[in-house]
């Protein structure tokens, strides 16, 4: 373990780098050292997984944290720098590394810390009607208050000038059954010149809410970060708490967690394939995929009491168990699913009407995906070979050997194919884990209180990509800060760059092929 630390310490030139826990490294640097360390990290092939602020509360200052992910040796490295209360600013790295763009502006919006040198210091998270100098994630901001609206428009949309070019505004209330967000297209007839995405309509105050709830109840909030990723986010939160208190879930629970996470992946991928087929008006396979998805969630309800797998993850393990009979039942169901699913995928890719719409549509080039830190299936569809299940295995993934599917095209077809191949992989993993389930308990006991003034990182590879939860406690062991990083937050910027050059009627299917969470992004 120390060998890994030594390698990372040398590469990043961080003398003080310490290994908090296996796979979790931390170092404090002065504020001015952040950009330099970022340069070294990027040069050494690390990627920026998250960037966030925190408020140490009365008497303390703020902090800015860069969270880096390393693959060889694997680990998360948190490089943080203190920020004085009377000098609320930090050096920006966004001009060099666009992945930091939204993250740094989010810190500016929520903590009032100015990212110096940021090429675009306008708001990203706060809407125009939010007053100046009110920062909701600061400790002295009481969450139980109504903040008055102010007039004016601080962020006008980028203009389009010329004959036959115009804006098309869409949302936040959309024509379909989807989440709220505003898309502003600059178009020349049908072709899209650019897309501006304004989100945070679904900002429910989730991160602030964590600080108010008892820590055990945080699990239920985590399940509601993005309704389609209940297991992914509940796992990331549970991992953070378990690492914080030093408790390992029993082996059987670690296997059951894999079952739950893979089931979540399968039902979402199948639903998305239905959505992609719907958006190219190919109704027969759309209906078939919907039937498959309904069969899966009905099975989940029968087995776990919840269609969307709510209330299955516990802190310290799981709240459910599967008898041998139940496991055989799932295996039988999955066998039927596999046959139907293969038919469905063949039906789609054999159809010229379908491939005509998805081939070369909404291309996210590999370099752009890399620059914006795109993760998960959208990243893998653009050739970014990242998967925490393999790179930083959690739960029972460490004992599994599998090849992560990868596509190079970066278009709608690639993201469609990723889903098809990932469902296949999930079925292999499920079969393996269900047939080889260790005996024993499904839950480890947790202490009554969290250790004071400490922090931990939890992660899980959800179906959309990596879910990261950084949990910090105050002097009394209460949650002082929970930073949630949903894969959508990084991928939205990627989406905005995959759209220009396409025609407006193709936007729905491009959007669906990413299927990003608004709620997980807006928090």
């Amino acid at each position: 373990m120390t060998a890994a630390r030594d390698v990372l310490r040398d590469r990043l030139a961080l003398e003080t780098l310490a290994e908090l826990r296996p796979g979790e490294f931390v170092a404090e640097v002065p504020l001015s050292g952040l950009p330099e360390t970022a340069d070294r990290a990027m040069a050494a092939g690390l990627r920026l997984a998250s960037l966030f602020g925190s408020d140490e509360g009365p008497g303390g200052g703020f902090a800015v944290h860069h969270l880096w992910a390393a693959t060889g040796p694997p680990g998360f490295v948190r490089v943080w720098a203190p920020v004085a209360r009377d000098a609320p600013r930090f050096p920006s790295i966004a001009a060099k590394y666009p992945v930091a763009n939204w993250f740094e502006r989010e810190i500016m919006d929520y903590f009032g810390l100015v990212p110096e040198g940021h090429p675009n210091r306008s708001r990203v998270a706060l809407h125009d009607d939010w007053p100046e100098n009110v920062w909701p994630l600061r400790k002295d901001f009481d969450d139980r208050q109504v903040v008055p609206r102010v007039g004016g428009q601080s962020r006008p949309y980028r203009p389009v000038i010329g004959e036959g070019v115009f804006h098309v505004p869409v949302g936040p209330v959309h024509a379909g059954i989807i989440e709220p967000g505003h898309f502003r297209f600059g178009v020349a007839g049908e072709p899209i010149l650019y897309l501006q995405v304004r989100l945070f309509y679904a900002h429910e105050g989730t991160e602030k809410r964590f600080e108010r709830l008892p820590w055990r109840h945080g699990l239920f909030l985590a399940e509601s970060i993005s309704g389609d990723t209940s297991v992914g986010h509940a796992l990331a939160f549970a991992h953070a708490i378990e690492r914080l208190v030093g408790v390992e879930p029993p082996p059987r629970a670690r296997h059951l967690r894999v079952v739950l996470l893979e089931l979540e992946r399968v039902y979402n991928h199948v639903a998305d394939i239905a959505g992609i087929a719907t958006d190219v008006a190919f109704t027969v396979p759309a209906a078939r995929a919907q039937i498959l998805r309904e069969g899966l969630v009905t099975m989940q309800e029968r087995l776990f009491g919840s269609r969307l797998l709510r209330g299955t993850i516990a802190l310290g393990g799981v709240k459910c168990d599967l008898t041998l009979g139940r496991r055989r039942e799932i295996l039988l169901d999955l066998e039927g699913l596999q046959r139907e699913f293969d038919d469905l995928v063949t039906l789609l890719i054999d159809s010229g009407n379908f491939t005509d719409r998805v081939d070369g549509t909404g291309i996210l080039p590999n370099q752009v995906a890399r620059d914006f830190g795109v993760v998960g299936l959208a990243g893998r569809a653009s050739g970014l070979d990242l998967d925490l299940r393999r790179d930083q295995p959690h739960d029972a993934y460490s004992g599994l050997h599998f090849v992560v599917p990868l596509e190079e095209g970066g278009d709608v077809r690639a993201r469609f194919m990723m889903r098809a191949r990932e469902v296949e992989l999930s079925l292999v993993i499920l079969r393996h884990v269900l047939e080889d389930m260790p005996e024993g308990r499904v839950r480890s006991a947790l202490p009554d209180a969290l250790p004071p003034s400490s922090s931990a990182l939890g992660w899980a590879e959800g179906w959309r990509g990596e879910c990261l939860h950084w949990v910090q406690t105050d002097g009394e062991g209460r949650l002082r800060r929970v930073k949630v990083t949903d894969p959508s937050f990084k991928n939205w910027q990627g989406l905005a760059h995959a759209v220009p050059g396409n025609i407006l009627p193709d936007f729905p299917v491009i959007n669906k092929s990413f299927n990003l969470s608004y709620s997980g992004n807006d928090l």
Partner: protein, 305 residues
């Protein structure tokens, strides 16, 4: 083309003739108040404040359970030392007011500080039948058997959206009930709204409501749409339940409600079905794999009395 046709013929009809026939294994909690000791363990365990204990006088206690805020996490079932909290099996709950979703029991404290159940408090506001009549009066004849619905996500986690989308799949196929999702509020008779309503969606929701022609019906979906749920009500970001912003005609609680419950809520809003509140006691059917807690035995059926 031939393959598609033959596949469709082989598949046949997958639509459930009666979508309401299946019962979920675990639904809203049911408290047997007569055996309850008002110890408050369930209220402490509840992450959303759906269960709350109040002390209106020094020698009295009131325990209330609101399905509006319940996320069916079943922590209360696991927490109850007396095993008087059980999971009901009927989740097609709908109501016309938030109050109708709340049950409140009163207890007297004896000299030893032990609580004894005395009575259920009368529910505030109109009863189910009165509300149903009022709604019928308001929409009389105008909707007929056809309902055009505009869905509005006013800040939800997207769990409710997944289940609303599921109502349109071939298994539930809500269009056979004359219910149709439309792309604009101007075409809509009814707004199906999920929440919590965020500060950033408040204006958009209000405008969408104003854009819908009269008589417009509003159905609030989900624990968050009914009460703010786990996100709370009256925070800087979450205004809370839909009724904090626009008038609500029907509440469909649950986290998220099943497609059957959403369909039921829409049919209640049309006046086709009657709203129901009281989930039945757990039936003697196979236990699901979920165990509320590894340490304690499951609560048994408690609603026979």
């Amino acid at each position: 083309m031939f393959r598609i046709l033959s596949k469709s013929l082989k598949t046949g009809v997958v639509t459930k003739a009666d979508p309401f026939e299946s019962r979920p294994p675990l639904g809203f909690p049911v408290i047997d108040f007569a055996r309850c000791t008002a110890c408050e363990e369930c209220a402490h365990a509840c992450p959303t404040g759906a269960i709350a204990l109040a002390a209106p006088a020094a020698d009295r206690r009131q325990l209330s359970l609101s399905y509006a805020a319940c996320i069916q996490c079943r922590e209360c079932v696991a927490a109850c030392p007396e095993q008087v909290v059980a999971s009901g099996r009927d989740v097609e709950v709908a109501a016309y007011t938030r109050e109708q979703l709340t049950q409140t029991a009163s207890f007297d404290l004896d000299g030893m500080g032990r609580a004894r159940f005395t009575h259920m408090e009368a529910q505030a506001g109109p009863g189910l039948e009165e509300s149903a009549a009022r709604l019928r009066e308001r929409i009389r004849g105008l909707l007929g058997r056809s309902l055009h619905v505009r869905e509005v996500d006013a800040g939800s986690c997207n769990g409710c959206e997944l289940e609303i989308t599921a109502t349109t799949n071939p298994v539930f196929d809500l269009e056979r009930f004359g219910i149709h999702f439309v792309a604009s509020p101007r075409h809509a008779d009814l707004l199906l709204v999920t929440g919590p309503v965020t500060r950033n969606m408040e204006i958009a929701l209000r405008r969408t409501y104003e854009a819908a022609p009269e008589p417009r019906v509003v159905v609030a979906v989900g624990a968050c749409g009914c009460s703010g749920g786990i996100f709370g009500e009256g925070t800087y970001a979450s205004i809370g339940g839909v009724d904090r912003v626009v008038p609500v005609d029907v509440y469909v609680p649950g986290c998220p409600p099943r497609p059957q419950a959403i369909l039921n809520g829409l049919l209640v809003a049309m006046g086709v079905r009657e709203a129901r509140l009281n989930p039945k006691a757990p039936a003697a059917s196979p236990e699901p794999a979920v165990t509320p807690s590894p340490a304690r035995p499951r609560a048994r059926g408690v609603d026979e009395g």
